[in-house]
Structure formats: structure tokens, C-alpha cells
Symmetry: C2
Subunit: 216 residues, 2 copies
DNA sequence: GTGAATTTGTCGCTTTGACGACGGAGGCCC
DNA sequence: GGGCCTCCGTCGTCAAAGCGACAAATTCAC
């Protein structure tokens, strides 16, 4: 039905609109009631779309939620890291901050008990994270770069690490600003990526303390 | 192609949307450039609609302008005089005020030289005015009411009178508020409608001064 | 002027959305 | 239990929108 949100090759304008409307309708309704209380025909009505049209795009409301979660994060991503932004520490930091902000936004937009939602969001955001990281790691300019399985592995690890940190941050009762959070987390992620990014094993913080900035 | 804006019997949602988008695109572009400088494909692009779709709805940009002008006025009308508002002096006054406000709004929304526009707007607003007045005059509750040709005539006369007054008002360098304007004009229009509304010839102001409130 | 570029209407053809209807699954009341 | 209601998922049909292409008309630049 829906292959991939990020596969954006010449989509029929009508399709874009319909999905946009359904997505917006979902977000609107989620601010009013819990996800369980939302019905497909409620969604269709709110979106101004025929109910049958809904089923032409999504299997059920869960599929729409998946789509919406990913699309929302993707949009923020494109806005902050336009197109082929290079792999730099500051960009990675922005990415981390984005994950945190997105999570916070979702959480206070949907005050109702979010049952399935968190799981679904996690899946989609991590998928998008993975894709971005894989793009960065796979396209490194240095000749000495790791093979595909390794970059996939590294991307997966980093995705989980980032997301996990964001979850922990978002659940703190007193959280610092998202940018500070990202700044704190960045070194850990960067260190974790060392092997694939530079072809060497990651150093322990203790060992690294001797030499400074050995690699740019 | 387009039968009537006010004939709103079960329109396909897609049609409503497409026309809405084209109308909005026209208004947007008119705030930026003169009507002559606007192209059909510019309209289609701005509306996010295929150019061929434009021609499925309107013969040319002039037809769209007609439609937009009437729809805009119609919308204000429905908002201010919902559905079957009865024929009362205060409602007629609101109608007059509406014509004036609409004219002012159009004039400062489109700063560019408006060539064809004014003529077109006049045609459409007068048509809508006529329809409203005809509805009022034709449905008068008194048994003693004039036949159809007379009510049409009266509606036409009143439409022109109201519109003319609004034009003159809108071209003043220092215009009073629209509600004051409407208040001033109301008596004239009301007097002009006397024959059809009450089945008697209109009185001269002098003759009327003797008796007060002869008819409710 | 000429020639390139743009806009205009108009065509078939394909894809998508609207609509109404259907049977079935679940909840609720009596 | 049986009725009533809402929502679900799916279907077939038809209308609307997208798209590419076309010749003709126009604007624009040189």
C-alpha cells in the first residue's frame, strides 16, 4: 500500500493532498481525544475525504499514525538539515536536538494516554534516523571506509543510542533545553561512530584524554 | 460551464476545492500584480492545479474573476444575513453596509490598476443584490403584493441605487464608516421600495411629513 | 523585421477520488 | 436471547483531476 514515506519520486498531487489532509485530521483529533477513541470515519470526515479513500491509502488508523509520525519528523529534518548536509559534528548535534524536540512536541500535543503511539513513533523516528546516518556514514569521502554491513550496524547503534537518550531526557521531570541536551549527548555518539568513521576502535575517554584532536 | 455560483446543490467536494484554490490563487496574485499581468498558468501553478483543470472550470481568467467576485460577496452575505433572513429595515441596512465594505475591501486588496475588475465586480455584486432583494420582495407576507415583473423591476432599481451609492461613497477622499453610510442611504432605498412593498405609490418627503408611520 | 520563448486552448488517456451499497463484526439495551 | 446501532472493510461505477502533447497565438529580444 504505502511503500515508503521518503521515496518521493513524482507523486500525484492529489495523493499528496489526500495524505496531508488525513495526517492533519489525525493530529487535530489526537489533541481532542485518545487515539483509541478515534474512528476511521471520524478521520475521513475531518479530512473532508471519503471514507473509502482512506482505505485506498492506509490499511487502518495505525498505518496512518505511522505515516504521520514519520512524515512529521521528516519534515522537521528536511527543514533543519537541508538535502545533502555533510557529516559534521554540528549537524549530528542538530539531529540529536531534533529528535528531542520532536518527542517533546508530540508529548504535549497529545495529552491523552498514548498507548500504541509511543511504540509507533519510536519505530518511525528510528527508521528515519537510521537512514540519515547511513547516508552520512556510507558516503564518507575518505578512501578508507567501512563496508555496507558495518555502516548499517553503526547507524543502527547510533539510532538506538540517540533515541534512548531522548526518551530518558523527555521523561525527566526537570529537563534542560533541547540544545543543551544535544550538546551533552553528542560526544558519546561521535565516539561510538569512531570505528566506522575513521577505521579505528573507539578510545576510552581516559585514553583520549592524553592527546587532543587527533583527527579532524 | 459554470451555471451559477449560488446554485449549490450537492457539489462534488473536489470541484468545490478546485474552485476554492483557484479563487484564492487569484486573490493572492492580485495583491502582487495587476490583473492583466496574471496568466492562466500562473494561476494554475499557484493553486496547485493542472492547467487543463483550470479550463475545465473556467473559460479564461475573466470568468474566474467573475466567479471569485461573486463568491466573495456571497460569502459575506451568508455570514451577515444567514439563510432566509426576513425583509426588515435593519436587514436592508446591513445589506447596504455589506456592499460598501466589500467594495472598500476589494479596492485596497488590489492596489494595482484595476481595469476590467470594477466592471466585473459591479455585474456580480448587483446580480447577487438583485437576487436577495427579489427574494425579499417576492415573499412578502401581505396578501396585497405586486406581481413578478414589478418585483423584478423594484429589485433592479434598488440594486442599482445601492451599488451607485456605494461607488460614490468608496470614491470619497474622506469617507465616513460604512455603517454610518448605510444608515444614511437606507431611507432612500426604503422609500423607493414603498410601491411594491405596500402597494401604494411612494410619497414625497413633503407629503409624508404630515402623517407618521402610516404602515408598519 | 526574424526567431526563440512563452502562453494559450484543446486533445486523449490514465489515475484518483466520490459515492452508494453491501455484508459482517462488535457494543448496548431491554 | 433478539433487536438496534455504529463502525468496519470492500466493491463497482462514474466523475474529476493529472499529465503529456499538440498547433496556434502571443510576447520578447536582438
Amino acid at each position: 500500500m504505502l511503500e515508503n514515506v521518503s521515496a518521493k519520486k513524482r507523486v500525484d498531487p492529489r495523493v499528496r493532498r489526500t495524505r496531508q489532509w488525513l495526517q492533519q485530521a489525525l493530529l487535530d483529533l489526537m489533541a481532542e481525544k485518545s487515539f483509541e477513541a478515534i474512528t476511521v470515519q471520524g478521520l475521513a470526515e475531518r479530512a473532508g475525504v471519503n471514507r473509502a479513500t482512506f482505505y485506498a491509502h492506509f490499511n487502518d488508523k495505525y498505518a496512518l499514525l505511522e505515516y504521520a509520525m514519520r512524515a512529521q519528523f521528516q519534515e522537521k529534518l528536511r527543514a533543519e538539515l537541508p538535502e545533502g548536509a555533510p557529516f559534521r559534528p554540528e549537524n549530528l548535534q542538530r539531529l540529536i536536538q531534533l529528535v528531542a524536540e520532536n518527542m517533546a512536541e508530540v508529548q504535549d500535543h497529545c495529552p491523552q494516554p498514548r498507548g500504541q503511539m509511543d511504540t509507533l513513533m519510536e519505530k518511525q523516528v528510528k527508521a528515519e534516523l537510521h537512514e540519515t546516518l547511513r547516508g552520512w556514514l556510507g558516503g564518507l569521502p575518505t578512501g578508507r571506509r567501512a563496508g555496507k554491513p558495518t555502516t548499517d550496524q553503526a547507524a543502527t547503534i547510533a539510532s538506538w543510542a540517540i533515541y534512548g537518550a531522548a526518551v530518558q531526557w523527555s521523561q525527566r521531570e526537570r529537563r534542560e533545553p533541547a540544545n543543551e541536551f544535544a550538546q551533552q549527548v553528542l560526544p558519546f555518539i561521535l565516539a561510538g561512530l569512531q570505528p566506522v568513521a575513521f577505521g579505528v576502535a573507539p578510545e576510552t575517554p581516559t585514553a583520549a584524554r592524553g592527546r587532543k584532536r587527533s583527527a579532524a
